[in-house]
């Protein structure tokens, strides 16, 4: 009986260790807040999206591809997050890297994505933003600076991330004083 209980405890511990190791943490802050590279990209809805048009709002810019498993994994949570974020005027721009409009359109329909999906067919913007892999996500503050980064998939509709984005949209102490 003890042996069974011991084995169970050990397996539970191993499971927890593995889960802890694999869990994605919160967003990575970029204390230097570099200026976000502006872009003008076509969306699958035929609209043109320019990042600088969103100045004054928090914008989440996600680089992804349909063939990238972690990108696919995080898309449903991104859709749920966007439904919540839009109420708080937090924007989401999902930039597809290197694929045709038809492929991306079919994927967006399959996953029922309602947020803006943009096209970066030559992968030029993803390089300018300094991403090292996919998915890579950057959070741009209302002043157009990159405040957070996330390399790899995240659970985007978590309360923790929502609170971080909300706080970023609030005027900072020094802004209020000036």
């Amino acid at each position: 009986m003890n042996l069974v209980r011991g084995a169970w405890n050990w397996l539970l511990l191993m499971g927890l260790l593995i889960a802890t190791t694999a869990a994605a943490g919160p967003l990575t802050p970029l204390p230097s807040r570099p200026q976000a590279p502006d872009f003008q990209l076509k969306g699958i809805d035929d609209e043109t999206y320019r990042l600088s048009d969103y100045r004054g709002r928090v914008v989440v810019v996600n680089f992804w591809a349909t063939w990238c498993p972690p990108c696919r994994e995080e898309m449903p949570s991104m859709q749920r997050a966007w439904e919540r974020w839009r109420q708080a005027e937090i924007e989401l721009l999902a930039v597809n890297v290197g694929e045709s409009e038809d492929e991306v359109f079919a994927f967006a329909a399959e996953y029922d994505l309602k947020f803006p999906v943009l096209l970066d067919p030559a992968g030029r913007e993803v390089r300018r933003w300094g991403a090292i892999g996919l998915p890579s996500t950057f959070v741009v503050d209302p002043e157009g600076r990159v405040a957070y980064r996330a390399t790899g998939a995240r659970d985007w509709d978590s309360d923790e991330i929502f609170r971080l984005l909300q706080a970023l949209g609030e005027p900072r102490t020094e802004d209020r004083e000036s």
Binding site: A7, T21, W67, I132, G133
Partner: protein
């Protein structure tokens, strides 16, 4: 109960637990080997190499726009999915593939072929630009820097023959400290290279 039987009971319990740990570790290693997956863990960091069947790799790159012959060549270049997870509490995690060393069984240590060399080869073979973009982003970055909680996944082409066993030494830097991830007996995928007639 006198102290001696209690001590003996504890000793038996510890021995049983140790045996169990050993057994489960062996089973885990056997399962990983069966799945063609090799895992290194240390200081909250994990590095996983997983052999990808050549047929799947060829199909993936053909679907991304590579000519079928080139997609087959990539697939036979010993492609392993690689995942680096930064699960430690603090410190930046870095690795540079130019520092990785592989030693084929019975061979000498060698480095990895840079991604740029593969891409130059594909450009010479007139691979379409969209396919090159897919290659660039589906392969593991040459240099990686991760913050706690971040992870990176991508394919690495080892350029070795199908079925060949080899060792890998992957230096990682966590918060300025060197970690040496070592893998022994990693095996290149050896499923039969898909032929043109099979694909048709």
């Amino acid at each position: 109960m006198s102290p001696e039987p209690v001590n003996r009971w504890h000793a038996r319990r510890v021995t049983r637990t140790l045996w169990l740990v050993l057994l489960v570790s062996c089973l885990e290693a056997l399962a990983a080997e069966a799945a063609q997956r090799w895992v290194w863990r240390g200081d909250g960091v994990s590095l996983t190499l997983e052999a990808l069947p050549a047929r799947s790799v060829a199909a993936f790159y053909a679907a991304r726009g590579f000519p079928e012959a080139v997609a087959r060549d990539i697939a036979s270049a010993c492609v392993l999915q690689t995942e680096l997870v930064h699960g430690a509490q603090s410190g930046k995690l870095r690795t540079d593939l130019s520092q990785w060393r592989i030693r084929p069984q019975g061979g000498r240590p060698q480095g990895l072929s840079p991604k740029t060399r593969w891409m130059a080869k594909f450009e010479a073979e007139e691979v379409p630009p969209a396919a090159l973009v897919a290659f660039r982003w589906s392969t593991f970055p040459w240099r990686v820097e991760l913050a706690p909680g971040e992870q990176m996944r991508g394919m690495i082409l080892y350029g070795l023959a199908p079925g060949l066993r080899f060792d890998v030494e992957a230096p990682l830097e966590l918060g300025g400290e060197l970690l040496r991830a070592r893998f022994t007996g990693v095996r290149c995928p050896d499923d039969e290279k898909p032929t043109k007639s099979e694909e048709e």
